[in-house]
Symmetry: C2
Subunit: 386 residues, 2 copies
Amino acid sequence: MSVTGPAGFRAAGVAAGIKAGGKRDLALVVNDGPQQAAAGVFTTNKVKAAPVLWSQQVLKEHKLRAVVLNSGCANACTGPEGFQDTHATAEKVAEVLGVGAIEVAVCSTGLIGERLPMDALLPGVDTANGALASGAQAGLDAATAVLTTDTKPKQAFGQHDAGWSIGGFAKGAGMLAPNLATMLSVLTTDAVISGDDLDDALRAATRVTFDRLDVDGGTSTNDTVLVLASGASGVEVSKEDFAELLTTVCTDLVRQLQDDAEGATKTIDITVRGAVSEADAVAIGRTIAEDNLVKTAIFGSDPNWGRIAMALGRVDAEIDVDRLEIATNGVTLYAAGTKARDRSEADLSGREVEIVVDLHLGEHAATILTTDLSHAYVEENSAYSS
Amino acid sequence: MSVTGPAGFRAAGVAAGIKAGGKRDLALVVNDGPQQAAAGVFTTNKVKAAPVLWSQQVLKEHKLRAVVLNSGCANACTGPEGFQDTHATAEKVAEVLGVGAIEVAVCSTGLIGERLPMDALLPGVDTANGALASGAQAGLDAATAVLTTDTKPKQAFGQHDAGWSIGGFAKGAGMLAPNLATMLSVLTTDAVISGDDLDDALRAATRVTFDRLDVDGGTSTNDTVLVLASGASGVEVSKEDFAELLTTVCTDLVRQLQDDAEGATKTIDITVRGAVSEADAVAIGRTIAEDNLVKTAIFGSDPNWGRIAMALGRVDAEIDVDRLEIATNGVTLYAAGTKARDRSEADLSGREVEIVVDLHLGEHAATILTTDLSHAYVEENSAYSS
């Protein structure tokens, strides 16, 4: 179950003809209320796709009636005409639902620099509207329609004892796909919560979930995470309780994104602890996660801790090489300024690899999730785009 | 010709048994004077190998009689014992040359975390001392003895009309080699120049040459560039004239490093111009150079400018997406906020690829040199290290 799990939501995922081959490529998620609180977080890239610019604008009121999403085209770097296409998409959804365009968010994913095929997309909105339903299949259809090179849909659902729930789907992570962009996620809840609280909870949850997945350092032009609250359960929730369950649901989605990252043969969890600040821990973890020499070593199942030491040494963070410890899969390979146990003792032959860096300097920690750099990654990302 | 090109220098490159298979692995470069001015620049990595810590120390006096270099072992992350090994190496060289250890710099390259085989290295110093010569062959032997996965030695030489010259060799670039570390370069000159001027000139030259090559973002634990001046030409030079020829020689070496980078099937020159500062131009160029999606696209000869736009948009630098222009191999693909000429018009099938980003915001520019991300890179860097 995903976005249709919580009460008050309908969804659809249809084939509008944006992608070749009759695949589902247009999703619609509608909040039937009684409330329509909403919040969103967006890419920090300075090059923002038209749908991001639009959705940031409409989210200022913290209210959404619907989200329309397409795969097959990112509508990024498309100028004023591209923005008009996004606007026209929102207007079309508003028209079929009988709401205002200002209540409709738009998300796109696909090749950067190409215009949306509006003659396919606009009739697709009618088809999607006709297919709207509240069952699990409708949620799955929507989760499927946003996929690009993902090999499977990613859905998550969490139920709170007090009688409310959160559901959601996601696709991609970072700039993963050949020629394609974007991590997109739509989350729904039937809890009663204000737009401001929803916004705070979303930022708290994404900061430690979506923001800690780093497959290739890319920050797409289209990254968007939206949360919509219907209030249909009638249960008022605190910001803290909501953020807690939201974090659990987002963690579930992020794990699925990590596992299905392009070309991944290993999932790598990098925990940095003993840091003087959380920012230091995150910066070190991200640099290790993005280091191609670390990533290729792990593709080769090689516990080459020298590359980990090299990577962390180039971060602008507080470290002391004589106190630093590096372990892979539970075996400490470097400690007290020199080699510890022999690398042959650390078995990295499985799919799951854990790197732990203990700086022994403070109380802060963070875990960054990444994957290896494999032949399949190079293959998928070097195929010709046109 | 390289380090033995300028008058006043002898060199040797011998097989000491540090590497397997009887390959040359120990180099010695001796400055016979009459002067012994010297300067060095070193890795900015916080995890510094023992020879870097030693050489930084001895360079404080801006005077060197000799440099000893080994391949096959980086002597990094080896604790106090590793530092003692470097010290003992310098002492041994000092003894055979009849100079002080404080006048001997040490460079190492190879696997991080392993101790130097001193029982092979120390007798190797005797062998190298016996082989010291001033001819071109001796310079080539030294340039060969420092190689790791480089496929060929890299040498350069420049002659000034006023009767003085600069020669040098280099190996590797960034963290290039499987399990290995380090870019090392030794430069020599027979010009008469003070240690302070030499230091200024070296920093000016490396800032726009070695510092602008970025193959994989790695900054090794061992990176070292040294310059030694013998004064044997008797010709006094200005700091500016010296820096100019030094920059030419370093550019030659850097081009060779780029061309021989691991797994490279393309050399990519990324020029960022119209920036509000040189720092912005360098930061944008480096981010594009390190972006795996850009690098894999170019491996596939794909002028995928959307990935270049994505990469530059995530840099903390001033950009205006509506003024930005992106061109590959002379064809403008993005301008005025949208797609320009079709990507099919840009032919990237050759080995040399040029990316030009014009920000149209200011007068500053920089060119970063990099290579593509190929199957061969993944292959070389995922082989098991032991």
